[in-house]
Amino acid sequence: MAAVRLDLGDDERVRRRDGSAVLRMTEVEAADLVLDPSDPVTGERADERMILNMGPAHPSTHGVLRLLLEMEGETVLRSKPIIGYLHTGMEKTGENLTFLQGPTNVTRMDYASPLFSELVFALATEQLLGIEVPERATWIRMLMCELNRVASHLLFQATNGMDLGAVSMMIYGWREREEVLRFFEKVTGLRMNHNYIRPGGVAADLSDGWQDDVRHLLDIIPPRLDEYEVLLNDQPIFRARLQGVGVLAPAEALALSATGPILRATGYDWDLRRDEPYLAYDRVDFDVVVGTCGDAFDRFAVRLEEIRQSLHIVEQILDLLPDGDYRTQDKKVTPPPRARIDESMEALIHHFKIFTEGFHVPEGEVYAAVESPRGELGCYLVSDGGPKPYRMHIRGPSFANLQTLPHLMHGRLVADAVAVISSVDPIMGEVDR
């Protein structure tokens, strides 16, 4: 296993604090910097430089990311991602919601792959509770998460194509994504923000006849992926726009805590599903997709191949999914079925207690992590024994991956900056929380 020692070798610029690639100053200072030729980095060519603001309302910043670009002509020298334009105070809200309501808050963080946030919150809560989730729930969670990865990567293909000018890619990408969302709506009742994976299992069993729907997906998506290959991979213009753009070395990616497709694109094979198996990933075989040169084209190719790997996993789940109940039968955690409430007083009490005050989670702290389409999505949960989490921190993969932006854009053209932002594929809901 390629365990590259953390040697920043040929790439000292990450360590140097003279702002080698990152514009480490506030907006006001950045505005005045340009007029001051005595600055050690800009030196006497200060008048050649200008600070351009690629602001929150920009078509290609994937939401409300803002970039301060220090540029000389068309070449980006230093840049600084400014975030916070979608800060929703979710971690504070998380401390005011019970453990049962938690998934509704967490699922709105990474809105391209909401089921992963729910999964990591549920796993952390279950570890604190010390309960076991029935087999069927584990496999249903895996099925839904892999399909969510397919939907999220299709969203990436769509927006990445549009950012690079292949506007028809936006239409194709969404066409496939609608198919997956239709299956989600059938099972969970919602196209997004499902609140489907809850502590103790899943909200509802799979809709009957789900095998045919999944087989329908498995039939139509792979041939269309080959269409994307023809449309994008084989085109010299598309390759020229992406190859050699935004190169990242494995050591640099590790130093900047980048995870997911960005880390794998540098040739460093690290995937939590294989290296720290959770759910039932050790009973399913799939390949970890790895790139060669660590540039924007590799990130694109890794995500395209990961869609196929996820579909391969879904194929295996189709016939491995066990029967049984889809939620833990522990009375304290799972509210009783609606019919039972009329019959037994105890069920009514449990129902009332769970839905008003919520179940109490023993005191303790835990860190659970899953492999979301953007990288390692972690949930650090501290409980003080009460029904509400004392502290809920979500480690957003895009938050860490966004730090690689200045190093990827250093010294490249502004047009490449758009390609780099799109290849990092940040979701601002998860970055700003």
Partner: protein
């Protein structure tokens, strides 16, 4: 389950108490030995810092799970490191008193914690010495206060029911 075996690892000066929670090692270095501990862990093979966050224990002082030698304080900096070769995680919990909320910055060891430390400063008000760009990251630059502290309310506005149309 969480078995608490206090394995004190011998370091140059203060021994670092450690427990194991849910299969993940947890170390409790004090502020002085913080950088040294992280440096030695990094040389051992912990090649990436996955997470850095802060917990404010103002309204939950009596928390169990802390090994004997550690004196619980109000703030607790929690750093997650990951060793990819041995597939092992370690979590450092560093106690930070309320009256002097400063902690040395990890930027020189793990540049990836730069944004995480800025977020910790922004939402909790614990400053990091030696951080290259010590400014707010999520809140507007002129924001007063650190919202994730336990003594600051959630800032909810009582819902004013606007003129619900009477036709319903």
């Amino acid at each position: 389950m969480s078995e608490t075996d206090v394995a004190t690892e011998a370091h140059e000066d203060a021994p670092v108490a450690s427990t194991a929670l849910f299969g993940q090692a947890v170390l409790y270095p004090d502020r002085g030995a913080y950088l040294a501990t992280v440096e030695s862990l990094r040389d051992e093979g912990y090649c990436t810092a996955t997470d850095l966050t802060i917990v404010d224990y103002l309204t939950h002082p009596g928390r169990s799970g802390l090994p004997g030698g550690v004196q619980p304080e109000r703030f607790e900096v929690v750093v997650g490191l990951f060793d990819h070769a041995r597939r092992e995680r370690v979590r450092l919990r560093i106690q930070v008193p309320a009256d002097d909320p400063t902690v040395p910055s990890l930027f020189d060891l793990f540049p990836g914690t730069e944004a995480m430390e800025r977020e910790a400063w922004d939402l909790f008000g614990v400053s990091f010495e030696g951080h290259p760009d010590h400014s707010r990251i999520l809140l507007p630059e002129d924001w007063v206060g650190h919202p994730l502290r336990k003594d600051e309310g959630i800032g909810a506005i009582p819902v004013q029911f606007k003129s619900a149309s009477d036709r319903r």
